[in-house]
């Protein structure tokens, strides 16, 4: 696995159906199939509960916890959208996610190019330090960061929070890009340099265009991380109009502890953006999260 982890983007996932002629007892096959079916049901149950409940009225839910909605009502969704700024929250989350990913990728690409292809003192040390920062839990930095950000007036600003997220994402971005950049033949770079390209030009015109796969991976893993984060957003964006989706729903759910169908409609709505991304980019999600294991 280490090899795959080390060069995740470079190796395509092996998904061939080879090795078909395996011999297994019928008992083994049946129990494995049974296990998988149970696992799928357990994995799906909460999503099914969420969607079914969101289509019931509170009265219906009180009578019947598990049955199908009868009749289906979309009133909960209408109420959620009309009374709560879900779209604003999503927009805030999107701005923060995309902003952090762009900043982190730019900073990491510059650094990773130098680490992978240039000679300078402290190169290995920088890579080791940066890599080991992947294991530092963000909560450890939160207290001093908050004090520092209060002091310099960055609490409650997009820029401040984007900086924090970008910082947290960067060790992984550097790690992934260094690994990939090292697989790009030096001859390509040297040829461009002889043709008069600047080092920055080499990065933007030769290396990055070749790095589509790791860049997509980075984009997805890092986007998911920022989109799903609660702690940083909760602390650093106290202003109501800057709330992210995760902070929004944690406030929202607290107000509707008794109205579970409404609460479920909110959750279902909040799941939509990532579900769409997952369905469209499933391959990259799986490949990227396996590569990005460290982001948890």
């Amino acid at each position: 696995m280490q090899r795959r982890l080390a060069a995740p983007a470079a190796s395509a996932p092996v998904e061939s159906g080879k090795g078909a002629a395996k011999q297994r007892g019928l008992g083994v096959v049946l129990s494995l199939q049974g296990l998988l079916i149970i696992a799928v049901l357990v994995a799906l149950a909460p999503a099914a509960f969420m969607i079914m409940t969101s289509l019931k009225t509170p009265e219906q839910y009180n009578i019947d916890r598990l049955g199908l909605p009868d009749p289906f009502t979309f009133g909960n969704y209408a109420q959620v959208i009309s009374q709560h700024p879900f779209l604003l929250w999503m927009a805030n989350s999107a701005i923060l996610s995309v902003g952090s990913v762009l900043v982190s990728t730019a900073v990491a690409a510059l650094g990773a190019y130098a680490i992978a292809r240039m000679r300078f003192r402290g190169r290995e040390l920088l890579l080791s330090l940066s890599t080991s920062l992947m294991a530092v839990p963000p909560v450890v930095m939160v207290v001093p960061l908050f004090v520092m950000f209060t002091q310099i007036g960055l609490v409650g600003t997009y820029q401040g929070v984007i900086l924090i997220y970008a910082g947290l994402l960067t060790p992984f971005s550097v790690y992934l890009l260094v690994t990939f950049f090292r697989t790009i033949p030096t001859e390509l770079i040297e040829a461009a340099l002889i043709d008069g390209a600047t080092p920055l030009g080499v990065l933007t015109r030769i290396i990055l265009p070749l790095s589509g796969a790791p860049l997509v991976t980075l984009f997805i893993v890092n986007l998911l991380y920022v989109w799903n984060d609660l702690l940083i957003a909760l602390l650093f964006l106290p202003n109501e109009n800057l709330r992210t989706l995760m902070v929004g729903i944690s406030v929202f759910q607290g107000r509707y502890l008794q109205n579970i169908p409404l609460s479920m409609a909110g959750m279902a709505l909040a799941s939509v953006p990532m579900l769409i991304l997952y369905i469209v980019f499933q391959r990259y999600f799986i490949r990227g999260l396996v590569a990005g294991a460290v982001k948890g």
Binding site: M1, A6, G19, Q33, F120, V136, P137, M141, V143, V174
Partner: protein, 292 residues
């Protein structure tokens, strides 16, 4: 390596170093400094180890430590469950790709969303207890989140539900890259499915299993804030699901004593250093394989 002017590499790494110092380096240095001060606002007088003394005298701190340690137990079901499911998927029985897509679904849903949905399912009169009662398991219909003795176990079950999805995909992708000749020749030698799985397939997963263990330990120690913040409601009932992350949050932001929060952070950081070393060694191994 490409030849450059001597200063060029430093220009390229400058933003990286700057960002890492700003978000990791400086705060990590400050957190040690803060832990020895009584901070009001931005700064405060040095109090030596008084914060740590207060911390170690606080029963809630030890409760949080105990809960984090208890959550570490989840590592065993996490590993076994994801290994078992990955191996089942690896057999490529009918529809395995769809199964894989669905099994990974819990990991796509954000923890706060998962937490809200599962909390409702685990209510005293929620759907889980409804099912248990309807199949005659009245005695198992517990107050999953309201009962202080059970709440943390319930949270643990939720963590296992979501985090094992990742393990499955991790192990499966390693399995799919294995060389199958070994297992095939063992089959020719008469080894049955169990023998092949236990003695041929699983040993080849050693590296990825180690990696997953380290990763899960870090998650269970320091990345479960969203679960306990939402599920039973801020570490409740009482302090039944208090964990170190939430404990830091409470000191620093509810009670507004950043010095105390920093002291807890220092403790948590020192523990994670152990894991950082482990992670670093795994990575080095990976790098060595890459070159070799």
């Amino acid at each position: 390596m490409v030849r450059t002017r001597p200063l060029t590499p430093y220009l390229f790494i400058a933003p990286l170093v700057g960002l890492l110092v700003f978000i990791f380096g400086y705060p990590l240095a400050r957190v040690f400094d803060f832990s020895t001060r009584r901070i009001r606002g931005f700064d405060g007088p040095s109090v030596g180890f008084a914060n740590f003394e207060a911390l170690f005298a606080d029963p809630v701190f030890w409760l949080a430590v105990r809960h984090n340690l208890q959550l570490l137990l989840a590592i065993i079901p996490l590993l076994l469950l994801s290994l078992l499911l990955a191996i089942a998927l690896y057999e490529r029985l009918g529809g395995w790709r769809i199964f894989r897509t669905i099994v990974f679904l819990p990991y796509i849903l954000a923890i706060p969303i998962v937490a809200v949905v599962l909390r409702n399912m685990f209510q005293l009169n929620g759907p889980i207890n409804t099912v248990l009662r309807s199949v005659g398991l009245e005695g198992l219909a517990l107050d999953w989140l309201g009962d202080a003795d059970i709440a943390l176990w319930t949270v643990m079950a939720m963590i296992i539900w979501r985090e094992s999805a990742f393990g499955v995909v991790l192990f499966l992708s390693r399995l799919l890259s294995l060389n199958e000749e070994l297992a095939e020749s063992a089959q020719l030698d008469g080894a049955n499915w169990w023998q092949r799985t236990l003695y041929i397939v699983i040993p080849q997963l050693r590296g990825v299993i180690e990696f997953y263990l380290v990763l899960s330990l870090i998650t269970l120690l320091a990345a479960v804030f969203s679960y306990v913040y939402i599920v039973p409601g801020r570490g409740g009932p009482g302090n039944a699901t208090m964990i170190l992350e939430l404990y830091i949050y409470n000191w620093a932001f509810d009670k507004r004593l950043p010095g105390m929060g920093a002291a807890v952070s220092v403790v948590l950081f020192l523990v994670t250093i152990v894991f950082m070393v482990l992670m670093f060694r795994l990575r080095r191994q990976a790098a060595a394989e890459e070159v070799g």
